[in-house]
């Protein structure tokens, strides 16, 4: 440990003391941070999200019975990501795209030296041959059921990227078709924007839920939310696969 280390330790301890003061719920510090677990949900705006009705009075929702609430997905996290704050999600996948493009720009495009000297063993090859379609199917299942169960586009896209990572681990000459990846990404992004613009045209605000909502809790429900989540899944899967492919073949 040199002098710089002790100085950093001192600074970090001072900063930690200040942050702990800010989170102390017994002091009235004007930050409205309650004690752990004592949050009153009605003091936060998200109580409207819980009632799935921001514009009108709150209603009661019953699983498998209620028809046409404002955002018809049974998973509240999905209805926030893909409906109430879908503009944030659009910005987020833009950030993801910029990071992937920056990685490809920095690493360059010489697809010559592979990361691995030889193929994996026979057992791994056979295992990947069985596991790859199963993992791909699991990813698609997670994406499609994003509005009913935990999961959705981000998780399913990451599962699909993991399946492609397994292919890279098994075969040293495995290459992804980068043109196809680009087409998939562009298709997903443009369709997201077009769905938002259709909402702007029909109901007067960007990314409105303009399709019929259906009964809450069934597979064909929640209007545009499953479509948006499928597009997010395609985009996230393509971009994470592209990142992995660029890192391996750099």
């Amino acid at each position: 440990m040199r002098f710089r280390d002790y100085l950093s330790l001192f600074l970090v301890i001072i900063l930690g003391f200040i942050i702990f003061q800010a989170f102390d719920g017994t002091i009235d510090n004007g930050l409205n941070i309650k004690q752990f677990g004592e949050v009153n949900l009605s003091e936060r705006t998200s109580i409207h999200y819980i009632n799935k009705d921001v514009n009108n009075e709150s209603t009661q929702i019953i699983y498998n019975e209620s028809k046409n609430p404002e955002s018809g997905s049974a998973n509240y996290v999905t209805s926030i990501i893909a409906n109430y704050r879908a503009l944030d999600t659009l910005g987020e996948i833009t950030v993801l795209f910029i990071a992937a493009a920056g990685l490809a720009f920095v690493l360059g495009d010489h697809n010559k030296n592979n990361a691995f000297a030889s193929d994996a063993s026979f057992i791994v090859k056979i295992g990947v041959k069985i596991l790859f379609p199963l993992l791909f199917l699991l990813g698609i299942y997670i994406i499609i059921h994003g509005h009913l169960t935990p999961g959705g586009g981000f998780q399913g896209g990451a599962v699909i990227a993991t399946a492609i990572l397994l292919k890279f681990l098994a075969y040293k000459d495995y290459k992804l078709n980068h043109t196809g990846l680009t087409i998939l990404e562009s298709f997903a992004g443009i369709s997201f924007l077009i769905i938002g613009l259709i909402g702007l045209y029909t109901d007067g605000s960007f990314l409105t839920n303009f399709l019929a909502n259906g009964t809450i809790g069934t597979l064909f429900s929640a209007g545009v939310i499953p479509i948006i989540y499928i597009l997010i899944g395609i985009k996230v899967g393509a971009e994470l696969s592209g990142i992995i492919s660029n890192l391996i073949n750099a």
Partner: protein
């Protein structure tokens, strides 16, 4: 119904016993290859039986637990095989030297190189 629940709890207890045995094996065994053997075999059986036990206790989840069990059966042996192979290739010697080393490249009679 009570029968299924009892069976499920028995399987969970059995599975955790196998997991405990696997952990003991990892502490007790002398080198990496023995540890992989203890860790993988006992852990696969333990995780499998406890997951099936969960599916029996709550029958709504049975098919999902079956899918998880299939994934464990497929991935766990492949992973431990890769670990053992890469540690052999990077030159880790076993603790107890044995005379026969069938995995050496000159000892393999078969011409197909991808069987190694």
């Amino acid at each position: 119904m009570i029968l299924l629940t009892t069976l499920g709890y028995i399987m969970i207890i059995l599975g955790s016993l196998f997991l405990l045995l696997g952990a003991l094996g990892i502490v007790r065994m002398p080198d990496l290859y023995n540890r992989i053997q203890a860790g993988t075999k006992a852990t696969t059986l333990g995780a499998l039986s406890s997951i099936i036990g969960v599916g029996l206790v709550n029958p709504n989840w049975f098919f999902k637990t079956l899918i998880i069990a299939i994934f464990i059966v497929l991935t766990n042996p492949i992973g431990s095989h890769s670990i053992a192979r890469s540690s052999y290739k990077s030159g880790l010697k076993p603790e107890l030297q044995s005379e026969i080393d069938e995995y050496k490249p000159e000892n393999i009679q078969d011409e197909r190189s991808d069987l190694r």
